[in-house]
Amino acid sequence: MARRSFGNSAMPAILIYLGLAVGLVFAAFPIVWMLFTSFKSNSEIFALPPRLLPEVFTLEAYTAIFADPVKLRFFLNSYLVAGAVTALTVLIAVITAYAFSRFQFRFKNTLNVFIISTQTVPPITLLIPYFGMVVAFGIFNTYFALILTYMVFTLPYAILLMTGYLNTLPRELDEAVQIDGGSSWTALWRVIVPLSVPGIVATSVYTFLLCWNEFLFALTLTKSMEMRTVPIGIEMLMGQHAFEWNQMMAMSVLGSLPLLILYLIAQRYFLAGMTAGSVKS
């Protein structure tokens, strides 16, 4: 007992709170600064001494973005690409995961190791042959170029996540369907998919995040302003008006909003995707 109290006094709650406060400043200050900068007028941004809150609160940066069809197009493109990739990825992942979870077949283990190692292949190594491939297919500077190539990094995760989820569903469920004469295909869509909604949500949320954040492929495989996604749009903004910090911050806030909202409403699912790589597969 004496030792216990030694432990308690060695690390009192106040020290932990102090550590957490330092951590909070470290984690949140840059984000808060970004948020408030987006409400400042451009002349105020590097005011000395630095001020967190804007002297004059203005939405001018946001109105400038919403008034500019080119910038709105970045968002449309990001939603389109991320949405299409998410739908395709989830569909293919569910079918593949079903095979992994319910069937024994040759090369299953090989395919599994292949999928895990695919997650670690450097994007830059793929980008060079992708560039040649996309040009050869005649899809350079189109949505298809991005939708196709994004699958290379969304599918491995999605398959691993979905296989993990399907493994938690009892096999008796789909066996019951097959005893009634339904095929495994029927069992998949009638029984497995409806029961997998949480797994599907987790996979979708994470896939959407990966696509929304992608930079390298979007930078290289598209060219015209109309095809650019939000991250590239922000990069262009940086090149064009190097000094319009409030607009870049507003763009960043708007560009982060979908993920923040997804995170707040589906936190549990988000974390499932985030740790998918490090859990045992």
């Binding site: 630095p50 395919l111 292949f114 190692s117 290379v152 599918l155 991250p231 960043s252 982060s256 045992k280």
Partner: protein, 309 residues
């Protein structure tokens, strides 16, 4: 019901060229077919291509390419900038992994403490993950704003008399790589925090009780129970983080672009410039294969570790 089932099976048996049994064997292959085809197009073919490019001269840009064995590798390996980029990638990656681990562990331990208010704990858990939600491009411009010579970091440091002039964090050769690494440390610790927090909650209470019976103090419990229980998770994430951090591109591209001069050139920016600024696809492929080899060696350890767990 049985009649219906039998009728269906009979129909299945009659239809198509294949017998019911060979269909049954084929079924799993049909399910994995779409993914397998995609992986073939998006992984196998490109891998063969990039390897081929690296052994030829004038890949992608010229019609008549010449097989040159390892000449492209020789060119890359004799370029001092390549080795500078390799060293800088290593520094950036190792520092990031170490600090991600330390910060992630510290945050996880503090959040897991039963001595703090559960509501505060729940709120902080959400807030501490925030940096991870921002895309690299946005992280880059946040830190460009904060670390601008006229920015808030210099403002605060000068007010505290820690520095006496406006440091150009991202545009001075002596600070750029450190500033970049710091931004990456800020952005990357939440993965460790979340995983370690899950790991901490999975440690059986009995282990601590047994340690107490043996007379262990708080520090001994931490060092002999908590840490050994977390080590497998730490190794997994550290290996993955090493692989991913080594491949960093957008953060560097958007803050310094590899400069000033070559002060923050990393392997991915070096390769990207070879391919898409200088159109030297053959040299870029050789460099890309080098990055791939380093990644694959780390992946080998990662898979072995995962299998052992």
């Amino acid at each position: 019901m049985i009649d219906v089932a039998q009728a269906r099976r009979a129909r299945v048996r009659k239809s198509g060229l294949l017998s019911y049994n060979s269909r049954r064997i084929l079924v799993p292959y049909l399910y994995v077919a779409p993914a397998a085809v995609l992986f073939a197009i998006l992984m196998l073919v490109p891998m063969v291509n990039v390897l081929r490019y690296s052994l030829y001269d004038g890949a992608v840009t010229q019609k008549d390419t010449e097989f040159v064995w390892f000449a492209n590798y020789a060119t890359i390996f004799s370029d001092p900038v390549f080795w500078q980029a390799t060293a800088q990638t290593l520094y950036f990656t190792v520092m990031s992994v170490i600090f991600h681990l330390l910060i992630g562990l510290a945050f996880a331990l503090m959040l897991n403490s039963d001595r703090i208010n559960p509501i505060i704990r729940a709120i902080l858990r959400v807030l501490f993950i925030l940096p991870w939600l921002f895309t690299a491009v946005i992280i880059a411009i946040i830190w460009r704003l904060l670390l601008d010579p006229n920015g808030v970091v210099n403002g605060v440091l000068m007010a505290l008399n820690i520095i006496d002039y406006k440091v150009e964090w991202f545009s001075s050769t002596s600070t750029a790589l450190h500033a970049l690494t710091f931004a990456n440390i800020w952005a990357g610790y939440p993965l460790y925090m979340v995983s370690l927090l899950a790991g901490l909650q999975g440690i059986p209470k009995e282990l601590y009780e047994a340690a107490e019976i043996d007379g262990a103090n708080e520090f001994q419990k931490f060092w002999f129970v908590t840490i050994p229980q977390l080590v497998p998770i730490m190794i997994s994430i550290a290996l993955l983080d090493f692989i991913w951090t080594m491949q960093v591109f957008p953060l560097v591209w958007m803050t310094t672009g590899g400069g000033p001069i070559y002060a923050t050139e990393v392997l991915s920016t070096y390769t990207y410039k070879l391919a898409f600024s200088k159109y030297e696809f053959s040299l870029a492929s050789a460099s890309a294969i080098f990055i791939l080899m380093v990644s694959l060696s780390a992946t080998y350890f990662y898979i072995r570790h995962q299998k052992a767990r």
